[in-house]
């Protein structure tokens, strides 16, 4: 399934998206002030070729919709979860190389100047320009290499704030280094293939190397290269790499607010500082500005759909399709269609709501096209009795980012709980299927639209 893309990199992916009609070039000069607004108004991803005062083009909006994400991945829209699940089970270890496109240009020492990069200012109340598409690479002597997605706020020519507020592997690595009063070497890759980006965003089980997963997604080893100033390996075909250290200053530097993945403006935080020791890049690099929230959310969408299919399978339920919806940030809200046996509508709800992030669920029969919101609404309308078919579970694990759990009322360190619900929109037990017989236009197969329009 990935044979034709084994050696694909970020710009190969862009070329395919352009061929698919999901990426358009903008020739007119634009300010980094306006890139996010323009991407938000466009019906495709945009490659802004002329950025005011910079000689580096900016691309954004790549994974804004399911269709664009599918184009980037090269997978059918309805198979994102299934393909992700299949590839994750076949990890392939990365290979270390010596020569790398991402090191065609190397800038070190006092010449390092982050203002050479067209780091955009994205949202009205952001604390500054942000690198939103950074994939951070780090090592730990015990835990091994790690890759993850972290935002970075521009502060000075050589320093950025990095968000390590919530629990993550990098936070764990940094905490250990901070405990030794030592800096943590880190490299930030900007403009990596969606397989590497998605693998880094994936909440991999402990001990898994995200680049092994990226290899599984590619169907071939990811080529990595050691940094020029840090002993950290990064994707060799990244567009731009920032090498440096997380300083042992702890959570002391102001960072944020930033427009977060849930679509709401986040809070001002105290976070560590990233000091840049080198900027390396391709000749003629492309800067990737990931647009919040949907691009960030779609990086997790296939993994969510894969996890849903997995828990339904563990519950012995035959799954027809699973869809993580955009309105639910590709994780919090899920629609699933199943080949139902008696009671399995509710079993499916219980299984899906056991996933930490899933907060609301609709379960339908497999005759419903769950990618059509009208069909899902039809099923909810006519197959659901609200007093019997809505399951509410309270006191479940919640997330601070959800204002409805009133996180500001929590004591320091206290975790929020949340109510979750599911709608069983399968045909109720005892009602024969013929009661739901759908109308069919007469002689449908004899009529071809193109013969008349």
């Amino acid at each position: 399934m990935t044979d034709n893309r084994r050696n694909e990199d970020f710009r190969d992916m862009l070329a395919r998206m352009e061929r698919d009609g999901h990426l358009r070039r903008v020739a007119k000069t634009i300010s980094p002030r306006h890139i996010t607004a323009l991407c938000g108004k466009a019906s495709s991803a945009l490659l802004c070729e002329a950025v005011d005062d910079y000689d580096i083009p900016v691309v954004g909006g790549l994974y804004w919709t399911r269709a664009r994400t599918a184009s980037a991945l090269g997978w059918p829209e309805g198979e994102l979860g299934a393909r992700f699940a299949a590839c994750v089970t076949r990890p392939i270890a990365p290979e270390l190389v010596n020569d790398a496109p991402c090191q065609e240009v190397v800038i070190t020492g006092d010449d390092v100047d982050l203002t050479m990069l067209p780091i955009p200012f994205m949202h009205e109340k952001d604390g500054g320009p942000y690198i939103s598409a950074g994939v951070a690479f780090a090592n730990d002597a015990q835990l091994g290499p790690n890759a993850g997605c972290y935002r970075l706020m521009f502060r000075t020519r050589q320093e950025m704030g990095i968000d390590l507020f919530t629990a993550s592997d990098l936070r764990r690595y940094y905490s250990a280094a901070y405990g030794r009063n030592a800096p943590l070497p880190v490299a930030i890759a900007i403009g990596v293939h969606v397989f590497e980006h998605m693998a880094a965003a994936y909440k991999a089980p402990a001990g898994w190397n995200e680049m092994d997963i990226a290899g599984g997604l590619h169907g071939a080893p990811v080529h990595l290269v050691r940094g020029k100033t840090v002993d950290v390996a990064v994707p060799a075909r990244a567009e731009i790499v920032l090498e440096g250290e997380l300083l042992p200053t702890g959570w002391t530097a102001d960072e944020g607010p930033f427009g977060e993945f849930a679509g709401m403006q986040g809070d001002l935080k105290k976070n560590p500082l990233f000091r840049v020791t080198a900027i390396t890049h391709r000749r003629n690099p492309i800067f990737y500005a990931l647009q919040m929230p949907w691009e960030n959310d779609w990086l997790n969408g296939p993994a969510t759909e894969a996890a849903c299919a997995r828990v339904l399978g563990l519950a012995g339920i035959q799954v027809a399709a699973v869809r993580a919806t955009e309105g639910g940030c590709c994780g919090w809200s899920v629609v699933a269609s199943i080949k139902k046996r008696a009671g399995e509508g509710r079993n499916a709800i219980a299984a899906l709501l056991s996933l930490p992030v899933v907060k609301q669920v609709i379960v339908t029969d497999d005759d419903i096209n769950i990618y059509d919101s009208n069909e899902v609404e039809w099923a909810v309308t006519f197959r659901c009795q609200a007093d019997k078919d809505i399951v509410v579970l309270s006191g479940m694990k919640g997330k601070h980012v959800d204002p409805s759990v009133r996180p500001w009322d929590l004591k320091p360190g206290e975790l929020p709980t949340t109510a979750k619900f599911g709608i069983d929109a399968t045909i109720p037990e005892g009602i024969p299927a013929f009661r739901y017989e759908r109308i069919v236009p007469a002689f449908r197969d004899e009529v071809r639209l193109e013969d008349y329009l």
């Binding site: 300010s31 980094p32 002030r33 005011d52 005062d53 910079y54 100047d113 982050l114 203002t115 780091i119 200012f121 009205e124 109340k125 952001d126 604390g127 500054g128 320009p129 521009f154 502060r155 000075t156 020519r157 320093e159 102001d254 944020g256 607010p257 809070d267 001002l268």
Partner: protein, 64 residues
């Protein structure tokens, strides 16, 4: 002052920061200057001052 920062621009940003402002307000006030020049001046500001932030994330110069 670093070699790339524009002293006049730094001073204009300092004037903006005499009251709490969002970063967006600074960009808005300096529309007549290139984005990159503003970022270079902002870098200088952050190296020279321990800026204060209010609960909304607005910046201001430290009170003396």
């Amino acid at each position: 002052m670093s070699k790339d920062a524009d002293a006049a621009l730094v001073e204009r940003i300092e004037n903006c920061l005499r009251q709490p402002v969002y970063f967006r307000d600074i960009l808005d006030a300096l529309r007549d200057r290139p984005y990159r020049a503003v970022l270079r001046a902002w870098s200088e500001i952050r190296m020279q001052h321990a800026l204060e932030r209010d609960d909304f994330g607005r910046y201001s110069l430290p009170k003396r």
